[in-house]
């Protein structure tokens, strides 16, 4: 355990030094703040439920941005250190490979969590300061949005490690990481939509759709945030989908957890078998 913390600490130290933490936090804060204030323009200044509108826009932002940031940090975690030669030395120390991987995961997740909390927190704080009325239910929804955003980041960090543990060089890892991002964030949903339109509900039943949605972590995240809370779903236009999809919150949470743990375990396995 101590080894894991030692590696995690070093990852955070490096993140602070090479400005990853700063850049990510600023990017998320800037986008969150602009969405908060510009985003209220089309809905008009209704004054109520302002935070719910923010949740809808921020969760869309998360789906695009957090996987990208997570993959950027993680795709060269293993193969990059191998290419630079630093992994050789690290593995000659009294530390198991899974501890190296878990330590990096903890460190990278801490960086991402810090940036998300601070960036999105800034948006919520700005709303509260400017005098919008926010009720307790909205705060809960906001809290779970931030929490699940961090989980989505964790998923793509784990997926990035898996790529990093499998491929032979950094260039390939970067290429595959971008491919994965495109697949999960853009292509998958378009393809799914296309299938649903063509199929007209003939063969794709509700349970098949559920399964298909669970196979993409960004869809799980979207369902969790946009249908989980009544007020939010009415703003997001997902209320219709929410009725058709019968996945409960615990199932969605379990899916998010599985999407983190399975790639992470596979990455540990691949890394432990790897020769360098």
């Amino acid at each position: 355990m101590r080894n894991v913390l030692i590696v995690a600490r070093k990852e955070v130290q490096e993140g602070l030094r090479n400005r990853w933490v700063l850049a990510t936090t600023l990017l998320l804060a800037a986008l969150a703040l602009s969405l908060t204030f510009l985003g209220s323009a089309p809905t008009g200044n209704v004054g109520v439920r302002a935070l719910d509108v923010v949740i809808v826009s921020l969760s869309s932002l998360t789906i695009f941005l957090l996987p990208l940031i997570a993959l950027l940090i993680s795709h060269d975690a293993i193969v990059g250190e191998m290419e630079r030669g630093t992994m050789l030395l690290l593995l000659s120390y009294p530390i198991a490979r899974w501890q190296v991987l878990l330590g990096k995961f903890a460190g990278h997740l801490a960086i991402l969590a810090f940036a998300t909390l601070l960036g999105y927190g800034a948006a919520a704080a700005a709303l509260a300061i400017t005098g919008s009325a926010i009720d307790a239910e909205s705060w809960v929804a906001f809290g779970s949005m931030v929490g699940s955003s961090i989980m989505l980041g964790a998923i793509f960090i784990a997926v990035g490690y898996l790529v990093s543990a499998l491929v032979g060089n950094r260039g390939t890892a970067a290429g595959i990481a971008i491919g994965i991002w495109l697949l999960f964030v853009l292509i998958y949903d378009m393809a799914l939509l296309g299938i649903l339109v063509v199929d007209q509900g003939q063969t794709v039943s509700g349970s098949v759709l559920n399964a298909l949605l669970l196979l993409n972590p960004t869809d799980v995240y979207r369902l969790f945030n946009l249908t989980g809370f009544a007020n939010v779903s009415s703003f997001s236009g997902m209320a219709g989908v929410a009725q058709g999809v019968t996945l409960s919150l615990p199932v969605l949470l379990a899916a998010l957890a599985a999407w983190t743990l399975v790639p992470l375990a596979l990455a540990a396995l691949a890394f432990s078998r790897r020769e360098l």
Binding site: N3, I6, K10, Q13, E14, R17, N18, R84, G85, T86, L88, L89, L91, S92, Y93, P94, I95, A96, R97, S272, E275, L276
Partner: protein, 306 residues
Amino acid sequence: MTATVELHHVAKRFGKVEAVRDVSFDLPEGETVALVGHNGAGKTTLLKLMLGLIRPTAGSIRVLGDDPSAGEFTARRRLGYLPESVSFNTGLTGRETLAFYARLKREPMRDALVLLERVGLTHAADRRVGTYSKGMRQRLGLAQALLGAPRVLLLDEPTTGLDPALRQSFYEIVQELRGGGSTVLLSSHALTELEERAGRVIIMNRGVKVADGTLDDLRRLARLPTRIRLRVADGGFPHVSNWLGPISDWRRINGHMIEIDARPEEKIDILRRATGDGAAVEDLDVFPPTLDELYAHFLRSQEMAP
């Protein structure tokens, strides 16, 4: 003497390439051993096998009682390793880097700072490693290898990039560790690099161990001739064979020099005759076989073998 590192019939192949073939040796405590071979002879592969970074295709390895290929690593606390062309994360300072490695070995920071002082990096401790010269990185690499007073020290081409003064203090540190009972394995691509400091030499060629012994053992085995150079007095040439006796292997270098390749058993005889009465010799030089010649001999002898 107990062995700290044991290799039994170790082989490693990467696809079609046999990097190491049937290598066995024990490294006892308190010995400095040189592992010598060309690039690609299998030195680095052997070191990686000892560290468990790669697994042997055949054979078994023990390092301080652990089997590294099974992922056992407790003994690595007492093991120091300096990779060939060591690299560090460039963003951290020298002090932070060494602190990280000290934490992994559960060594107090105090000791790490002493090592930093010892390799002469204290003045640069708070600069980023990215700004270090190659020699400085090598020194930082040495400092991390020495963390925790290792009982086994594996050094891959350790003195490349070190200036003569630092090389000297490097060998002093090695000497001290050996005195304390540590095993030191130095790998190098040339015997001369080691300046006769290793008690024992293992020569590798194309993945095979071709020689193993002290330098004296190797010299005896190789039976390389000693070169003797004689400066002959004016007019002495026509009579050389009169006083020198029947020697097959001699040649004229110029007007007043001859060179003899003396086999070990005839060396003393030749010297006696060359310095005896009637020999027209003005001056004499004796060159024992150099380490490079010795090394070349063992490489050649293996290549001629089937």
